[in-house]
Point group: C2
Chain length 368, copies 2
């Protein structure tokens, strides 16, 4: 029965079990069907990690699956639990927000250097005119600087600064003074070690603890960790940190529809307590605090970025195999390629918003 | 007392009663103060129509007033009534939606030709590279065509087509077949008379009655009349009218914050039952129906458009003076210049959204 249900669902997405088409799933263990039926997204991911199935290419499996908008039907009752948890518990309090640093960002910078490339930037690149990942990441940093109209000597608060890639770019290329804030000790230590003489500083603290007033605020890949209960608070805090004529650039992954739930597989293995906002949720949080000056949708750029990360990861895997093992390799591939498929299917999005406190007087002219 | 309260409020906006600065109000009748205090927006507008006060220039009076965000404090209890009416009554049923056609769009095409210029387009122009109003309106039409990627032979549904200006432009320049839908008999009759041999047709009916399936749907200046109770229905209807790979271009005036109320003065004299949406309301209505591909904020272009309309209106007033009279002239100036001030203060906005049903496969590349 489970086999028929799952095979039918796949069929509706144009996928044939044990077929020869691109993305067709090859099932190695018959328990696959009942596990997916019982556990939905979590069962699909964990059974992949356990080697119960494969698909070639895996990203195309997800593209087809998500393009068919079957994800609703794959949600068994079990996924109600994380949903209820999200409703009744603030998963992103300053204490709980640390979980993501522990599980993910502290894997070791060597591992990430090999995957992310030169500036160690762990967010979507901007591929227009870029020949490779390094250029796509510099393009993205440059796009952000141009969108806020960054000038020599401007001060910038970078919330969720990662390993300091954007902060150092903005200081190097635009002569800005940047304060980066981040909850991962190891990322902050790395950034601090590599900042040279640049006018940048890095502080290990929650975004709620930032102080000072800046010409601009950027949050590139922070909002995915903020949680819907804190979106409004985040907007208000940023407004307090921002000069009246400054701009706030919000760069975030988003969903087409509003939810307060997290994907249980992603939550367990990749981003504990992460949550993707919708435009409605962002607009609600910003209302009365900010004027929305610009919105730029860049999802397909994240597909390319994730595929480039996966290529780097695969190419360098021999260096990390011994430390992490085969189950980690499958987990990590599943993470990168399922996300790439999600962006390719336009099921998830990457947005850049430019927000102002009072409306730019003569109007904001968006750069691309 | 009323005088002190109102003068203080103006003072907070940098306006001096009977002063000599730009936009300073000159009060000709002392009853002005208590009337504004008692009736808020309605009293301000009606006392202007009655000649109780002036300001030079009037648009600058509104820019300063609205930039100071005083509008909240100017709302006395009386404005609660239209608010409650909006909450409990669907102001924009097909029957009631006709009121705006009766009061406004049926003023006579001669009057509007003199104000709006060659193509008789009654929405915000796009001024980049335009030398005058006619060019700004053609630029806007061209921008809309380019945003939906219009090709020779494409079919377009134009909801709220006015006097057919966009429809005829798209047919002339791009070879599209356009169906325009509008509830104003006189506008539809005018459009029909002027369509020549172009592949366009105009139908006098409510947007809810439109049928057929089109390559693209545009709504340029419709959503302001749809009403928040019908936003969702409007999105769903448009989705049904649209090919799976087509685009929906939504061009609308909007507010920075969500409301269900209408401005009582604008409601009584200019746009009965009109209502400005917020981004949150639009995102809520579109959620699960459309993917938001692009958002473009153009408010300052409407400031210039309204000032150009006001210049045309003033220049041609001698032709209409006898028919409409002085109170109408003051009412019309107040309408155009208060709106221009609203856009200049960034208190109201003009947005173009591009929406797709399933997400454009390789991503939507926004044109400007």
């Amino acid at each position: 029965m489970a086999r028929r249900v799952i095979s039918d669902l796949f069929g509706k997405a144009g996928l044939t079990v044990n077929g020869d088409g691109p993305g067709d799933p090859k099932i190695h263990d018959k328990r696959f069907y009942s596990r997916v039926l019982a556990q939905g997204s979590l069962g699909l991911g964990e059974s992949y990690m356990d080697g119960w199935w494969d698909a070639d290419p895996l990203d195309e499996f997800f593209t087809k699956l998500l393009r068919a908008r079957l994800e609703q039907r794959l949600k068994p009752l079990k996924t109600l639990l994380p949903y209820l948890k999200a409703v009744f518990v603030n998963l992103q309090t300053p204490r709980k927000a640390h979980a993501v640093a522990d599980v993910h960002y502290d894997l070791g910078s060597d591992f990430f250097v090999d995957m992310l490339g030169r500036r160690l930037i762990y967010t979507c690149g901007y591929w227009d005119g870029a020949r490779d990942l390094n250029e796509a990441q510099e393009n993205k940093c440059d796009l952000v600087c141009r969108k806020v109209g960054l000038k020599q000597g401007d001060t910038v608060l970078d919330l969720g600064c990662g390993w300091g890639g954007f902060a150092m770019f903005a200081a190097e290329r635009y002569g800005a003074s940047v304060t980066g804030v981040n909850i991962s000790d190891s990322q902050v230590a790395y950034a601090d070690k590599n900042r040279g003489d640049l006018p940048v500083r890095f502080v290990c603290e929650d975004w709620r603890k930032a102080d000072g007033v800046y010409d601009h605020v950027v949050a590139i890949g922070l909002f995915e960790h903020v949680g819907y209960r804190n979106y409004r608070r985040c907007m208000e805090d940023v407004s307090e940190r921002l000069n009246d004529d400054g701009l706030f650039l919000l760069h975030t992954v988003g969903r087409n529809t509003s939810t307060v739930a997290v994907d249980p597989w992603i939550n367990r293995y990749v981003f504990p307590n992460g949550m993707l906002p919708s435009i409605k949720q962002i607009a609600h949080a910003a209302e009365g605090v900010f004027v929305v000056e610009d919105f730029h949708s860049l999802g397909p750029h994240y597909d390319r970025t994730l595929m480039a990360w996966h290529e780097n990861f695969s190419m360098n895997w021999h260096k990390h195999r011994e430390q992490f093992g085969e189950r980690f390799r499958r987990m990590w591939s599943y993470y990168l390629l399922s996300c790439a498929g999600g962006f390719r299917a336009r099921s998830i999005q990457l947005w850049q918003f430019v927000l102002s406190k009072r409306g730019v007087a003569q109007g904001y002219v968006a750069v691309r």
